[in-house]
Symmetry: C2
Subunit: 725 residues, 2 copies
């Protein structure tokens, strides 16, 4: 086999006298060294505690039986974690107990593996051997092969042959040949599989496995790891399935790339496609707020930068790029790997090299060529609690995508204020369909009404047809960032092909004189054929404090809103037909008030509701919704804003500005442009003019209250008066 090369330079230097370094492992004895940085020492201690417990409990390699979250599933997961960590502890300490543990466990797997057939708890497709789905088998192999690489040279030849043949060759064969369909996909499951098989190839010295991993089973490069790096990421490093799966895929991408770099540095894998893997790492981090990933598409909301994938990604990424802002992320994580890359991170932090990660406003284009929409992120800072607006103008994102074109989210004060539901799933909880996606993921979470975007005729985008959805994507028309205005404009004209609906949406973060925070402004216009019903839901978080309008309340019986496409899951609390300038509602969340204000047009109805209807197994979270509805027309323009204001401090009994500080919101249509005029209670007046013209050079004008406004490009903020101070 090709020998693994030391990846790390600084660590390698200090390890000159140490035994030959297998793969990404720290110099022996580092664990005892008194000058190991605290972060690394803590990581080693944590690993030791876990592995020592596993050793004390005795090796347990059960016959596979349970689905996700069940006993055998969790035990095999624990086993691969334990082998991975034990091998590194062995490398760091030379402690034979760790060597023996990994060896003996792999020998048990060598007994078990040849007896396995499809997993008894398989669901319909892609069954695994050790786990209910092949994906988990790939994850097992990614970790186990890294452990094996460390101990393999120290094995007697009989053990080595048995483990080579009865565990790793079989597992690699299973993942590549027997599960060829999965292996050759352009999909995160295939990234895990190719990484597992490719790394197995390097360790066993089997070039065929490496070739298969890099170029697919056909060897033509139309599939395999390299093609995945080209098709799954946009030129900005955005992964088309969205942040949750971007995080998940990052580990095999980074770990296998690290192995390629060590074994075949001439491939310059980290420079491939203009450094796409580095970009992917940074984009993954940018797709977070308060450390948590934006939960759009199928996403478990618990996932944050504090996950194994990101510890690994940050460590390998830092070793390649020396980007000091990655150290800032490692500090936030307060975790790293017990590998040379991890040691390098810990040492650099100790040397004070860490810098704050530059969270910033940006567009991340989607699609291999960057032409399938985008995710636009607007932030008013990067400190904890800053305000962030996410415009989800990306493509469908494959099977885990939601029918949520042009949807958005708003974060403030550490919370998601305008929410995305994420996935309906309780990962690894056996009582919840074995931890798999729940039926409500299809019937609710993926449906358009579960998102903050336009629903026509109570149908989901693309009529909920994924094949149709895969064929198109929104267009990110423009994006701009300056001190007082950040904006995104996007459009899509084939989300409802039968009704020929075109949708355009401008989302902006706008500073208004005298307000304590920017507002989030939303101008959405749509046009189609015939008498249509347009619903614009807002999934907000908080407790209603004030309604500007009378609501016909369902107080003694709670009906449902509809019977399909997610509407069957909405309880209706009441309906209203606001008029005048009191089309507003204020809610309270964690000591801060938010007012949602919208322009009342003639036939606007507002529906207040909550999720949780038609949910026989209590699978859904119960969350409030407000829907603006316009019916019986071929077009509609929704002009709305969310205004964060005031504070409520129950401890000190201080309440400030619990009511909206805005006096009015008006909408003016002038030619093909739309202008929103916001006036505060102290008289400041700001117009936000939208030309719907992506030509940044084009000049536009409109007349507002007898005053002529002129601007250039897509969107402009024009101060009409400053108001009293």
């Amino acid at each position: 086999m090709k020998r693994a090369l030391p990846l790390i330079l600084a660590a390698a230097a200090s390890a000159a006298a140490a035994p030959a370094i297998a793969q990404d492992t720290a110099p022996s004895g580092a664990v005892q060294a008194p000058d190991v940085p605290p972060l690394f020492a803590a990581e080693t201690a944590r690993a030791r505690e876990f592995v020592d417990e596993m050793i004390a409990a005795g090796i347990t390699v059960p016959v596979p039986a349970d689905p996700g979250g069940g006993y055998t599933h969790e035990q095999h997961k624990r086993n691969f974690r334990a082998m991975f960590l034990a091998s590194h502890l062995y490398n760091l300490s030379d402690d034979q107990r760790y060597f023996v543990f990994v060896r003996d466990m792999l020998l048990e797997y060598a007994d078990l593996y040849p007896t396995l057939e499809d997993h008894p708890a398989r669901s319909n497709q892609n069954p695994g051997r050790l786990f209910w789905q092949v994906l988990n088998d790939a994850m097992w192999l990614v970790h186990a092969i890294q452990a094996y690489e460390v101990i393999r040279d120290d094995l007697d030849s009989e053990s080595r042959d048995r483990i080579d043949n009865d565990v790793f060759r079989r597992a690699a064969h299973f993942l590549s040949v027997e599960s060829e369909a999965t292996f050759n996909r352009i999909h995160n499951h295939a990234t895990w599989a190719t990484a597992a098989v490719g790394m197995t190839g390097y360790v066993l010295g089997d070039d065929e496995l490496v070739r298969r991993a890099l170029y697919g089973t056909q060897g033509d490069g139309e599939s395999g790891f390299l093609r995945q790096t080209e098709l799954l990421f946009s030129p900005d490093g955005y992964y088309t399935e969205g942040p949750y799966y971007q995080r998940f895929a990052l580990l095999p991408f980074m770990v296998f790339a690290g192995a390629i770099e060590r074994n075949e540095p001439e491939r310059a894998i980290f420079e491939h496609r203009d450094g796409i893997l580095r970009k992917a790492l940074l984009a993954t981090i940018q797709l977070t707020y308060g450390g948590y990933f934006f939960p759009f598409n199928d996403a478990i909301r618990d996932k944050s930068l504090n996950t194994a994938e990101l510890y690994q990604g940050v460590a390998i990424g830092y070793s390649v790029t020396r980007d000091p802002s990655l150290l800032g992320i490692a500090q936030f994580q307060n975790r790293t790997m017990i590998t040379p890359a991890g040691l390098q991170v810990a040492e650099a932090i100790e040397q004070g090299l860490a810098e704050e990660f530059p969270f910033r406003s940006m567009v991340l284009r989607d699609g291999p060529n960057g032409q399938q929409g985008a995710v636009a992120i607007m932030r008013n800072g990067s400190e904890p609690g800053h305000m962030a607006l996410v415009a989800k103008n990306a493509s469908q994102g494959m099977g885990h995508g939601h029918f949520d074109k042009l949807s958005w989210q708003l974060y403030d004060n550490g919370h998601e204020i305008v929410r995305d539901y994420g996935a309906a799933r309780f990962l690894n909880i056996e009582a919840k369909e074995g931890g798999r996606y729940l039926p409500e993921n299809e019937s609710w979470a993926k449906q358009t009404v579960a998102h903050n975007t336009l629903v026509v005729n109570q149908q989901s985008h693309f009529y909920g047809d994924r094949d149709l959805a895969d064929q198109s994507a929104p267009t990110q028309q423009c994006f701009g960032v300056d001190d007082e205005l950040q904006f995104s404009v996007a459009s899509i004209d084939d989300a409802y092909p039968r009704e020929s609906v075109t949708m355009e949406r401008m989302l902006a973060m706008v500073e208004i004189d005298g307000l304590s925070a920017p507002i989030a402004l939303d101008v959405l216009r749509a046009q189609g054929d015939g008498a249509l019903q347009f619903d614009l839901p807002l999934h907000y978080a908080g407790h209603i404090m004030r309604l500007g309008f009378d609501v016909d309340r369902n107080t003694a019986g709670r009906p449902i809103l509809g019977d399909a496409n997610g509407y069957q899951h909405i309880w209706v609390d009441g309906r209203a037909r606001p008029d005048g300038e009191q089309s507003l509602m204020t809610w309270l969340l964690d000591g801060r008030f938010y007012t949602y204000r919208f322009v009342q047009s003639g036939e606007l109805e507002v529906i207040l509701g909550e999720t949780g209807a038609n949910d026989p197994s209590f699978n859904l979270r119960r969350e409030p919704i407000a829907i603006q509805r316009v019916s019986g027309t071929d077009r509609a323009t929704f002009v709305s804003l969310v205004e964060p204001h005031g504070l409520y401090d129950g401890a000190t009994e201080q309440t400030i500005d619990s009511d909206s500080q805005i006096a009015s919101l008006h909408h003016i249509r002038s030619g093909t442009t739309d202008i929103a005029v916001i006036e505060t209670i102290t008289g400041a007046q700001v117009a936000v003019a939208v030309s719907w013209d992506s030509n940044a050079e084009a000049e536009h004008s409109a007349t507002v209250n007898g005053q002529e406004l002129r601007w250039q490009g897509c969107v402009a903020r024009i101060s009409l008066s400053r108001g009293e101070s």
Copy 2:
């Protein structure tokens, strides 16, 4: 006038060369001293920032107009805070700006005060002058008089006379003579009023005001501050209105006591009634979990040890008692006062004298003689996240009391798992009825069904009649704490006089071999006359993971449970008639699972629901409820337990023991005793035997599965088998 004496010894010593010390104020110059402890320096800086902003904004003393939370209300609150802090900053720094600020603001009040009549936003009773209710006027005076004491000697005589006469004498007269009914109550409002008037008496040298404050307007000691210390606290320092108001009343009790100690040390006020004020301070702290007060009775849930009342209470308490565990609380608060007592706290912390506060299991008796029930607290530790069970066996607690006899709460992992709703009120939020108690406080929060206790015939205890409720209280029959069992037994026989219902309840925290945490065990038995309906609600927190029984679900329309006494606020999600040993439900909260398990008796119905029906103004939080119902019988025994188990970590995708680790719960009636038998899935078997006999010496026996159990006293835990390890 009598001169205020320096309260503090250590601080006074180092201030020997400083100007004469008025009241509880730190030595001049301390704010600049480089050796001021960080806690004190931070407090001073915070005060300075606030006061400097107030000075920069200019003095604003508006004509009273708004109710709680409105502009004038909040401004007058800011003013008294600013005067209090500015006077202390003046004392610390000799900075004339602070002197001038307090003086000029008081002169503005001298202009305003004589023009005032009843507040325009008064509700029916007890109107204030500056505020909508007299209570807030008393709070204003408590703070303003402390500020005035600091600056009064430095005023020219004209200003002093104007402020003496047009502010303080008028305010004291208003609170004592014009508001005599409030002033002479035995109630926290009267504590604020008497403290305000008494301290004004000391500062103005007006012995009549002091006498009135101490003994009531009649001077007979049947009312007034001293009587309040005798009647409002139990011998254990429990305040009959409950923790929320105990916290609130603590400030005037401690501050006025501090003033009495300085002006009339011969009264030995802190020794009065066997040191009742010290006991009250310690009891206040014991009535918390994770820093938050148990929210039973009318209580705002935001209130924690981090409130001004407790900063003041801890500082004064430490100066009197030198109890090092109070320093532990100050460390938790990370706050103190900018007074000599606060400096002493900060210095003692700096010297490393702080000790952990000994949160522990205890009974706090209620009633002036300790004979009106009790609050029983069981804890399995004191570290963050420990488990705590609170048995609310106290008396009604006056007008802010709830109809919740023998109710309970359970805390674990930092959360309230079995919940008390607290008050239906949004303090100081004008949109919510001016920040006052909401109608739903009467219709829901006070009703029995809003609590975790027995409801008979869908009526609240005492039929919701406070006068009736005031006439009786539960009896705390017994309480015990040992390693493997903590228990409380209480009873009440006149909560439903018309149906002659007697209720007895045992609540226990029980260790079971092999379980990761104790269980909370609940045995409640009731007996009355006729065919009754017994409902036992459990207000839990979490998302349902598993139901052991089939539920007839209301999925497409949600009816209400009843039409009065709180039942009108409950949406019904479904009904079940569990049988066999699957009478259980499991929910998930913040990474931990909880299973509620109950013994299925023949006619048991289970109702699953949620609050929020008949709530036209969206005033209620929406929270889940499970109700055990037995109908058409004159007696019922409910045997239930809550078992915390397992963990769910979405970040690492680890799920452990998501299903209950208990195999069965059985109930055996033997003679007059009740025995609960818990068996785990590994075979450990524990019996908890309840004799319902408070005689600790009495011997009891019962036969369970052919095995004879013998025990002494109220409750015993008997291990029947240890199970597999």
